[in-house]
């Protein structure tokens, strides 16, 4: 540790140091971003396998591929995994890798806290999945409605694993959110005013604010649940006069902002990709930014549209119907801005662009079905049916995941120094697009025919057989598309075409520095004079400055203690599942980790303070 390169010489390449220890002790935002990306993709594959098992079970009526109990665990873990362990951390991978580069920073504001966030995420994800081997996975849905989650109806440890696991993951998300708020507000390059910031960095800021304000609400909901389960309180026990709707209100007060936590980073990614491959600045930049802020703000005022079916009364229903429909306005504005960006541009249909256009198309379909269930009478017909399943998968798979793939193809050359293969990329895109529609489009019809969600099978002769078989075939297409992508990543990482600093002719600062970037990112942080700095008059000057050191560069030193603290926190909270005493070793490790962390200097030497 003592020998770690604290002052990165201009000649030292970023990835010269290898080995497991260098990854465990890293505080470099680029390495942490890579760790987030690889880990989250592994969980994405796991969640995908769970989805395949669900679809195999539903391929035929009255199928017995898995038992009803296993089926409940599968759909619960599929939802939990995809939301908390795949899409959120895949977005976090981009926050980590891209945002400091886009705003002209050497790292995030708190590099060790950033490492801590990653390790807590990794260990929390493993913890939730351990439940499969320790008495059964949670089986109450990713939303865990009370009072199905009570000890009376869920006596096993599955719900405990779920509730404690989400608390652990919440710590990771909150720590990362605070870190990125400070990074974006405080560590921008000289001259980069807020309204000169790239849209992706803007959406990261909005998303971080949403995480900071929404996660404490689910923390409280889960704390009350854990008290009910472990201390015998009555928060969600109707027999004691409690109202189980309290859970639904708290959960969706978190849950709807969570939807925007999943989609706003995706909107940020396509707002970077579309201008680059249209060779035109983003159409109406301020309006796109304000719409994103407005969506985040409104996201806290629509939660009860998830609860129309419980009968909140005409006043509440009307309020939440109107606020929900209102969100369609900033969303529609953004879509028109993206189309306006492409309009009249010199379109280059490279793989990132295809995925970005695919995102717009699929997101419009998901958005349209979303507006349908903003209307309470329509929602009463659709709620708990496959129509809603179709909707969420169009916005989350067609939306978030397509945009994440756009981002992966777009920034992979910056991350690795090599281009992903464009031909394989196009195979991936078209297979993905067709298979996605084959999987999820028939679900609209199955839902309107009355097929309920979360039921392990359906009888023959309701007109659902063909629709379900189509969906199941589609899932195998999605698996094939994902395999093509994985092959592309492995092959291109090994022997892809060298990317150079700026393979796409991008407009933002990350394209001014080498690929992969050196550990210190910018040899000298350049001054920014406007939006799209690399398309402006000062581009040549910025590119030259970014690789020319002027004076010593201080980098944060490596630390082992964030990983130790993360292990401690996971053992402390995870131990609670088996009784309070089993948290004691975790408490000791946590205190050791945090104490050592606090007394280890953040910088080598520190003589230049």
């Amino acid at each position: 540790m003592e020998s770690s390169a604290a002052i990165a010489g201009a000649a030292a390449p970023a990835r010269s140091e290898g080995g497991l220890w260098s990854w465990i002790t890293t505080v470099d935002h680029k390495r942490i971003g890579l760790l987030y990306g690889v880990t989250a993709f592994a969980f994405f594959v796991l969640g995908g396998v769970e989805a395949m098992l669900i679809r195999i079970q539903l391929a035929r009526p009255e199928n017995h591929f898995v038992s009803p109990e296993t089926y409940n665990q599968l759909f619960t873990m599929h939802g939990t995994t995809m939301i908390f362990l795949a899409v959120m951390p895949l977005s976090a991978a981009f926050f980590n890798f891209v945002v400091p580069l886009q705003i002209g920073a050497r790292d995030v504001a708190f590099p060790r806290l950033n490492a801590f966030s990653y390790w807590v995420f990794l260990l929390g994800g493993i913890f939730i999945n351990l439940s499969f081997f320790l008495g059964g996975a949670p089986d109450t849905g990713w939303f865990g409605y009370a009072n199905l989650t009570s000890t009376q109806y869920s006596p096993g440890h599955g719900v405990d694993f779920w509730a404690v696991g989400l608390q652990i993951l919440g710590i990771a998300s909150l720590a990362a959110a605070f870190n990125f708020i400070v990074t974006i507000v405080n560590l921008r390059a000289p001259g980069m005013r807020l309204m000169r910031m790239p849209v992706f960095s803007w959406m990261t800021l909005v998303t971080s604010c949403l995480i900071a304000l929404a996660f404490p609400v689910i923390t409280v909901a889960l704390v009350l649940l854990l008290f009910d389960r472990m201390a015998g309180t009555n928060f969600y026990v109707p027999a004691s006069g409690a109202d189980p709707l309290l859970w639904q209100h708290l959960f969706w007060l978190f849950g709807h902002p969570e939807v925007y936590i999943l989609i706003l980073p995706a909107m940020g990614i396509v707002s970077e990709v579309l201008p680059t491959f249209s060779r035109k600045p983003l159409f109406g930049y301020p309006v796109v930014v304000y719409s994103g802020i407005f969506i985040g703000f409104l996201g806290f005022g629509v939660w009860s549209h998830h609860m129309f079916a419980v009968g909140l009364g005409p006043m509440a229903d009307s309020f939440f119907a109107i606020s929900t429909m209102l969100i369609a306005i900033p969303t529609g504005v953004k879509i028109f801005n993206w189309i306006g960006t492409m309009w009249g541009g010199r379109l280059e249909l490279r793989t990132p662009m295809l995925f970005a256009i695919g995102f717009i198309a699929m997101f419009i379909i998901g958005g349209l079905s979303g507006v349908m269930h903003a209307s309470p009478p329509a929602d009463l017909q659709q709620t708990d049916t496959y129509f809603v399943v179709a909707h969420i998968h169009y916005v989350l798979f067609g939306g978030s995941i397509m945009a994440i793939f756009a981002g992966l193809y777009y920034w992979f050359p910056k991350i690795t120094g090599r281009l992903l293969d464009d031909r394989l990329g196009k195979w991936h895109f078209w297979l993905n697009l067709l298979a996605m529609n084959l999987t999820f489009f028939p679900m609209h019809f199955a839902g309107l025919l009355g097929m309920p969600r979360r039921i392990y099978t359906y009888p023959h002769g309701l007109g659902l057989d063909g629709l379900n078989l189509a969906s199941t075939l589609g899932v195998f297409g999605l698996a094939a598309a994902t395999l093509v992508f994985m092959w592309n990543v492995i092959a291109s990482w090994w022997r892809g075409a060298p990317a150079g600093d700026d393979p796409w002719g991008g407009a933002t600062l990350e394209w001014a520095i080498p690929s992969p970037p050196p550990e210190h990112n910018f040899a000298t942080v350049p001054e920014v004079h406007g939006l799209n700095p690399l398309w402006g008059a000062h581009a040549a000057e910025i590119r030259a400055l970014a690789v020319t050191p002027r004076g010593p560069i201080h980098m944060p030193r490596r630390s082992f203690w964030p990983a130790v603290s993360a292990l401690g926190v996971t053992l402390l909270l995870g131990g609670m599942v088996f009784g309070w005493w089993s948290g004691i070793p975790g408490l000791v490790i946590t205190l050791l980790g945090i104490y050592s962390w606090a007394f280890q200097p953040a910088h080598e030497g520190g003589a230049h303070d």
């Binding site: 605070f178 400070v182 405080n186």
Partner: protein, 205 residues
């Protein structure tokens, strides 16, 4: 809120702290303000839970059976006074007053201990009157809300005591006043939360 370029301290920012930030705000302070924003939603949800369940119980003890308003008013006064001593502690550290700084830090921490002792006495007294954690909706929403607040006071007390031990050994020069300022932000926040709890839970019937 004052000068931003204070030297680096324990938590450590990415760039040497002497480096200017985009806003002029110190990064650690901004981190803490974001954390406090998040904590507002945390306590907001707990208080909302208490308010939603108020008056739903059919079996007692009810709030008016157990609350001792004079005692709790005294507890609230203790916390308010501790905010004053906190301000005096920060001021002493900033001025480099090595005699008064540990004194005011110790006073703040001891007032925290006093508050916690009152709360422990209050809880014991309530349990004696038959209000256990599991008794009814009032009991569980009351104990969890005030218990979490008490835990925050406990964390703050330990924090302040650690600063006190540093100050006694002369390891809290004016250059490290930010360490005290951040602890002060936390302490004042915990105080403000208590004012909300005291008003909404104890005073309004």
């Amino acid at each position: 809120m004052t000068d931003a370029a204070l030297p680096l301290a324990a938590a450590g920012a990415a760039a040497p702290a002497a480096e200017r930030t985009s806003t002029g705000l110190n990064s650690r302070k901004l981190l803490f303000w974001s954390f406090i924003g998040s904590e507002c939603m945390f306590f907001g949800s707990l208080i909302a839970t208490y308010m939603v369940y108020r008056g739903r119980d059919t079996t007692g003890p009810f709030p008016h059976d157990v609350f001792d308003i004079p005692l709790t008013s005294y507890s609230a006064l203790i916390l308010l006074v501790s905010s004053l001593t906190m301000v005096l502690a920060l001021s002493a550290v900033q001025r480099g007053d090595r005699r008064r700084a540990p004194l005011w830090l110790a006073a703040t921490a001891l007032l925290g201990v006093h508050f916690l002792a009152n709360q422990a006495w209050e809880f014991t007294h309530f349990v004696e009157k038959g209000l256990k954690l599991q008794t009814n909706l009032f009991s569980c929403s009351f104990y969890v809300l005030t218990g979490f607040h008490g835990t925050h006071v406990l964390v703050g007390t330990i924090w302040l005591w650690s600063l006190f031990t540093l100050a006694v050994r002369g390891k809290l020069p004016p250059g490290r006043a930010l360490d005290v300022e951040v602890a002060g932000l936390y302490w004042h926040f915990v105080d403000v939360v208590w004012i909300a709890i005291f008003t909404l839970v104890y005073l309004i019937h």
